[in-house]
């Protein structure tokens, strides 16, 4: 009825306009808008003179929430640690992208409009970086990703404020492929991608090398949402001795291994970073290559490991690089604070000048002019019969 319609429309519109006008003033004092995480972040906080915010863009909900929540847990740990060590008051603002570029753009606009955010950790996917790089560039906000490995992100020049603490597909792919050829000598292998940018990038880097070495390659593809691989495993012939799984979700790799055992096939699984997880992927006899060391085996990381076991027990390969990235930003903010209040440009130059001799990743952190990590190390692990990770090279 007409009365009701007009009343409803008027009420809703006025509420929205009030919200709109209210939020424009709200965004300028964002210390209240970072809400929940302030408890964990400010327990170490000392002097209020160095106050800033860091945003984190990750898939916190959605089908790959397992990756994003791990990244969030490690970022929170890093901030707590650094607030205590540097006497800063840095807070974390969460932004959920569900690994879709369009949501990444919305979250990025939110961070860019929030004047207290001076640096961002993430986004997690290479395709998201492609979508948001120019926006961050225009706003001059540095953003460091712990998992975007596509080479074009730094070579295209479209993302001037982008940095990453992991190595690139065009470096990791050939390294892994050459190692497999020289150490495992397969005559036939199967390589399966999970239809994500990370996976297809590695596959296209590795396939030519295998083909040039005369190995018979069976290229398969499966969606990340599939959790049963028995149909694929049935295609593993007796001559196939190696299966390469450049996947992001370690639990899927574990299931693939179980399917192999179930059908009594003897292929060796070689996984890349995504499969690195001492708690989720433990198929004996497999190899995993990773851009980060096994932090559970490094004595100096013992306290971080202890905290991680509480916050996110089944962590794998996505947490530690985000810890490193957050740490870089925290130190950059602390440096910028020394010469006054931290601003986006001062934090950006501090990040560019980062020179840490050691980090949770077991290597120094320094960025080249394009934003890549200088001298990114590469670690290879073998899983022994007890399910434990043993370093082979690295």
């Amino acid at each position: 009825m007409a009365v009701r319609r007009i009343t409803i429309v008027a009420a809703v519109l006025s509420a929205l306009i009030a919200a709109g006008c209210g939020s424009s003033s709200n965004n300028n004092n964002s210390t209240s808008s970072s809400g929940g995480s302030s408890t964990t972040a400010s327990t170490g906080g000392g002097s209020k003179s160095c106050t800033a915010s860091i945003g984190i863009e990750a898939p916190l909900t959605g089908p790959v929430a397992v990756l994003g929540q791990e990244q969030l847990a490690f970022a929170k740990m890093a901030i707590k640690q650094d607030n205590a060590a540097n006497h800063t008051n840095i807070q974390l603002v969460q932004g959920d992208t569900q690994l879709t570029p369009s949501q990444a753009v919305t979250v990025t606009q939110q961070f860019v409009s929030n004047s207290s955010i001076v640096g961002v950790v993430g986004p997690a996917g290479s395709q998201e970086v492609e979508a948001v790089g120019p926006i961050f560039g225009r706003a001059g906000v540095p953003f460091i990703s712990g998992s975007a490995t596509n080479p074009t992100l730094t070579s295209s020049g479209k993302n001037p404020t982008f940095f990453r603490v992991v190595s690139r597909d065009d470096v990791q792919g050939p390294q892994d492929a050459n190692w497999i050829i020289s150490h495992l000598h397969p005559k036939a292998l199967m390589i399966v991608d999970d239809q994500e940018v990370y996976s297809t990038g590695l596959v296209s880097a590795m396939m030519p090398i295998f083909q040039k070495a005369g190995i018979k390659v069976d290229h398969e593809s499966v969606s990340q949402k599939v959790t049963d691989f028995s149909s694929l495993v049935a295609k593993v012939t007796p001559q196939t001795t190696v299966v390469v799984l450049p996947w992001q979700v370690a639990a899927n790799g574990e299931q693939f291994g179980k399917n192999l055992a179930e059908q009594h096939k003897n292929a060796t699984i070689v996984g890349t970073d995504g499969l690195f997880s001492p708690s989720a992927f433990t198929i004996p006899g497999s190899y995993v290559s990773s851009f980060g060391p096994d932090i559970t085996a490094i004595p100096s990381d013992a306290s971080i490991v202890a905290q991680a076991k509480v916050a996110f027990p089944k962590f794998g390969t996505f947490g530690p690089p985000v810890y490193a990235a957050t740490h870089v930003l925290d130190d950059a903010i602390a440096t910028a604070c020394k010469s006054g209040s931290p601003s986006r440009s001062s934090v950006l130059s501090a990040v560019k000048a980062t020179d840490e001799s050691t980090s949770i990743l077991g290597q120094p952190i320094k960025f080249d002019s394009k934003g890549d990590l200088v001298g990114a190390k590469w670690f290879l692990f073998k899983i022994n019969s007890a399910g434990k990770y043993q370093l082979v090279t690295g």
Binding site: V9, N26, T39, T100, P101, T106, Q109, E196
Partner: protein, 508 residues
């Protein structure tokens, strides 16, 4: 009860106001609901005769005499003022998203609201438009690429979209209802699979296509969010105008006839198949146009941008606003976008929405005023009492303050119980347990009546506030989705026909 009947609007007028689930009395079905067999036209015309008494009624009658077109222009002018209010980039982005969602909802309304066809593959048209524009405005297809101007590429994309709409609508010749829905769903899913896995060198694969030209025409180009806002506003007004003309023409009447009863319509010489195809084609054209502008604004397209979650959002907007009504589609889309993408992404606003919605529901639904006052007063008193008792028992039981910031924090710091362990962290155990108990209490509330219901409301409200402060504020992204799920459930129970929809009689 003659006076009640008149007030309610005659034979089968407005039914008793359906309340949100939890406060409704399921045992009583009012005799005033539109029921199968009663003439819908008579029911609606009876509604039209009810105005508010006095000056308000005079104002309503005068407002109704204002034509449809001046109303559209007035809303458009109001919307055009919005970017001038000094909004930041994020708010402009939300505005752009809201306008895109409105255009999509308006296009979907043609197939779902007017023609009654459940089109679950609508997102494929949006994606087609975006990819079409991307291929025509980038270096993807060849070294130098194709770089058509917008006034060339967008019509091409729209025509392509219409053709795709005809293809997708083709099964509607043989399939009806949910069977048609599933086939359109296949098309929608197939589009994402196609763009992700087929011909990666031409279509980009999971890498997508990026580096697109912005909208360029006649020497100017649109580079700022404000520019895109105005462009989308113009496109939305144009779409609404064209669709309104269609709706009030023979085509619109044919759509409505096919929706209500396809057999009778075909007996009345309406070409049912052609009408259904037209519905698909027009919806697809609108979606393709929206997709092209979306691609230009994002300067990139990826397969995952056109997956099921976006389809869910469009449907939620359309149905929440009222399927079958253009104004409803726009209102629903705007409300959903601003709430879901804009407000709920910020923890302070999420808290505000949470508390305001609870209070609003109480104020609107709880009568008489004594009862409302009793419940609110009781909750406040219970809170202070419980907090004091808990503090007396153990200091760590209230050591964590409410996790919200700002005014809410200061107001609630002595009211909610938020435990903290010795390291000052808030443990998740009590929060999880409290959440489960809260859900159980709300369900119990829905089943109770009378005095016990009023009494149970008090601890439920207090527990809701505690769980919010203890657990839900700390995980803003998960809370956002939980809240939107709850809002959808409650809103559809409160007003099943949507905000601006009209109650329809469905012959099943």
């Amino acid at each position: 009860m003659a006076s009640e009947d008149v007030r309610a609007g005659g034979l089968a007028g407005e039914p008793k106001d359906p309340s949100p689930a939890g406060l409704q009395d399921p045992g009583v079905t009012g005799p005033r609901e539109p029921s199968v067999g009663v003439d819908e036209w008579v029911a609606r015309s009876a509604q039209r005769r009810t105005y508010a008494p006095g000056r308000l009624g005079d104002a309503q009658r005068r407002l109704e005499r204002v034509g449809w077109w001046p109303r559209l222009l007035a809303v458009a002018v109001l919307a055009a003022v919005i970017p001038q209010l000094g909004l930041n980039q994020f708010q402009l982005q939300i505005g752009i998203n809201a306008l895109l969602l409105s255009i999509l909802a308006v296009g979907l309304n043609v197939a779902v609201g007017w023609a009654g066809l459940l089109d679950l593959g609508y997102i494929a048209f949006y994606g087609f438009g975006a990819y079409g524009f991307a291929l025509l405005s980038s270096n993807q297809l060849s070294a130098s690429g194709i770089h058509l101007q917008a006034w060339e590429s967008i019509p091409i994309v729209m025509v392509g979209g219409a053709i795709l709409g005809l293809i997708v609508g083709f099964p509607s010749r043989r399939l009806i209802g949910d069977y048609l829905a599933i086939v359109t769903l296949f098309f929608g899913e197939a589009f994402v699979e196609f763009t992700n896995n087929v011909a990666p060198s031409k279509l980009g694969g999971p890498n997508g296509i990026f580096g697109l030209d912005p909208i360029r025409a006649f020497g100017t180009q649109i580079l700022t969010n404000t520019g895109y806002f105005y462009l989308l506003l113009v496109l939305l007004v144009l779409s609404i105008a064209v669709l309104r003309l269609l709706d009030t023409s023979r085509t619109g009447r044919a759509w409505r006839a096919v929706r209500e009863d396809p057999l009778a319509a075909s007996l009345m010489t309406i070409p049912v198949n052609r009408v259904k195809l037209m519905a698909f084609a027009f919806g697809a054209m609108v979606a393709a146009m929206a997709g092209a502008v979306y691609a230009a604004q994002q300067t990139s397209v990826f397969p995952t941008d056109f997956d099921t979650p976006v389809l869910i959002l469009i449907y939620a907007g359309l149905i929440l606003g009222g399927a079958g009504s253009l104004a409803g589609a726009v209102l629903g889309a705007v409300v959903i976008e601003i709430t879901y993408d804009g407000l709920l992404r910020s923890p302070t606003w999420a808290g505000a929405i949470f508390y305001v919605l609870i209070l609003l529901t109480l104020v609107v639904k709880l009568r008489p005023w004594r009862r409302l006052a009793g419940v609110l007063g009781g909750t406040v008193a219970l809170g202070f009492a419980a907090h004091a008792i808990a503090k007396a028992i153990s200091a760590s039981a209230v050591a964590g303050g409410p996790q919200s910031g700002g005014i809410i924090h200061d107001a609630l710091v002595n009211w909610v119980i938020v435990p903290a362990n010795s390291a000052g962290n808030i443990p998740t155990g009590p929060g999880n347990a409290g959440f489960i108990v809260l859900i159980a209490l709300v369900i119990a509330l829905a089943q109770l009546r009378g005095r016990w219901r009023t009494i149970l409301m008090v601890p439920t409200l207090y527990l809701a506030a505690c769980v919010w402060e203890m657990r839900l504020v700390g995980t803003p992204s998960t809370t956002r989705l939980i809240l939107i799920g709850a809002i959808l459930i409650v809103m559809m129970n409160a007003r099943p026909q949507g905000l601006l929809g009209s109650r329809r009689v469905e012959v099943v």
